[in-house]
Amino acid sequence: MGTLILNATSQTVAGSRVVMTETVKANNPAGTAHTAGDPRPAGTTMAIEDVTLRYGDANGVLALDDVSLKVAKNEFCVIVGPSGCGKSSLLYLAAGLNDVTSGSIKVDGREVIEPGPDRGMVFQSYTLFPWLTVRANIEYGPKRKGLPAEQRRQIVDQYLNEVGLAPFADHYPAQLSGGMKQRVAIARALANDPAVLLMDEPFGALDSQTRGTMQKLLLRVWERQQKTVLFVTHDIDEALVLGDRVLVMTARPGKIKAEIKVDIPRPRSMDVILEPDFIALKRRILGLLHDEIDEDH
């Protein structure tokens, strides 16, 4: 896996010249290169340092190999990678749902050792509590925190409106469509006011039209709420529409291969995917991913 990209396949993809220069940096075995380049260096919310994840014993599968990245405060950071590259595993580690094999993950300077409400997460599968109404689902986190009822009600109302589901407050999850369920899941995570919002392919199970609507909604919410987001997807369009910065991961074992700043001005509309700047960035990422897939086979 060590040396990448230096094969003929990269010739076929336009923009591969850029790919090569970036890859050299990302492949630096010292693992020091990719912590640079925060678009908003004002404050780091999440710092992942030299994280390795190996399943089972010392001979087990290496899922993540020496991954380092920083997410700045209020940044929208996206990770793309081929399936099975460990990008979801990285989010589970950041959430504290799994333990790192080595390395460390810090959120606001505190080391992650177990899950906590400061790291909200939206999953690809539907994880609303089926026995609670939409309102009670959103209220769950504030209730665990012990907030008074009046304050909880205000928070719930605010986020119900934010995701446009106020008329469905008393519905049960089973009565909602897939897109609506994920809107509630986003509202539920945000109602806890987490330091960072982890999103694991949250729109992956939705049809493409609903996905577009959800991306628009998420952008609007993010622009208003100013949250730090770490978002995982395999959809390049989604990554570029949403992110300030896109990190491209290699196939297993997962490493950060390249970092691409998305300079497309905000607020972004969904038509942004037709613009030349967008297409150029997409071509670069596609090139990076194609190399991974070619190496795989």
Binding site: Y92, A95, P117, F129, A174
Partner: protein
């Protein structure tokens, strides 16, 4: 589309819905066939009445025993035994099963033992129970308990274990502590399937009634049918069996209503 299909096509399409009226008609027809077949065999003397009473005789017996209050008395005794045994069993099996399904450290020691016991025939323990507990109602309750508890434990443990991991993970990221997960997430998530388990095992509890009243009982539906066997009162046996079935049907319906009330969100 549906209208162009004939009724016959609809009846023979896998998983297709049929009109409610058709379903009711079919259900009633089944009873007509069963009772009609019974009437044919008994009134037609195909089977001697000593072995198969006529529906009329059974109805007469039922009427007679209802009038003198004995049917009510025996039914009440039996219901008390079954319901008490079932409640004692469920009260322990639900929390223990939840624990067992949630924590490997509880499952590891219990599962081999429980799986051993639950295959033992209940009847073989009746002499032991009499020796240990005596011949009072406690002994009969113990039989019902023994017949249902270990089955319940395994099934409820499975209900807990099949709760989605991501549901629990999501609750952690919302601030649930590890110690709270059982009560706040796993129990409510498993509740519909736990209620289904209780409904099914309630049926099993009824089936152990006759075993429970086999020895040393002096009242109950199982007792009167055993006594009737000695006196060749086949009509009484039939009535007792029908009463047990009917009570089972009533408790089953009660559980369905309870589930719809307690877990209205579940399909």
């Amino acid at each position: 589309m549906a209208q162009r299909r004939t009724a016959w096509t609809r009846l023979t399409t896998p998983f297709a819905n049929i009109p409610a009226s058709t379903a009711t008609t079919l259900a009633l027809a089944m009873w007509v066939v069963v009772i009609g077949g019974w009437a044919l065999l008994s009134y037609g003397r195909v089977v001697p009445n000593m072995f198969l009473p006529t529906p009329g005789t059974v109805l007469q017996t039922t009427y007679r025993m209802s009038l003198d209050g004995s049917l009510f008395y025996h039914t009440l005794t039996s219901a008390k035994v079954v319901i008490l045994g079932f409640i004692v069993s469920s009260v322990i099996a639900v929390p223990l099963g939840l624990w067992m399904g949630t924590y490997r450290a509880v499952q590891a020691p219990l599962e081999p033992l429980v799986n051993f016991i639950r295959y033992l025939p209940v009847t073989s323990f009746v002499p032991l129970f009499i020796l240990w507990i005596g011949i009072g109602i406690e002994q009969r309750i113990a039989v019902i308990f023994f017949g249902t508890f270990f089955q319940q434990l395994v099934m409820i443990s499975d209900c807990a274990r099949s709760v989605s991991r991501d549901l629990v993970n999501a609750s952690y990221t919302l601030g649930t502590k590890r110690s709270e997960a059982v009560w706040h997430v796993i129990f409510p998530a498993a509740l519909p399937s736990i209620l289904d388990t209780l409904r099914v095992t309630m049926g099993w509890a009824w089936t152990y009634l006759v075993v429970a009243e086999l020895v040393a009982a002096s009242s109950g539906l199982g007792y009167i049918s055993l006594k009737a066997m000695r006196g060749f009162q086949v009509d009484v046996i039939f009535m007792a069996i029908a009463a047990i079935g009917l009570l089972g049907l009533i408790t089953d319906t009660a559980f369905r209503i309870l589930r719809a009330r307690v877990a209205p969100w579940a399909p």
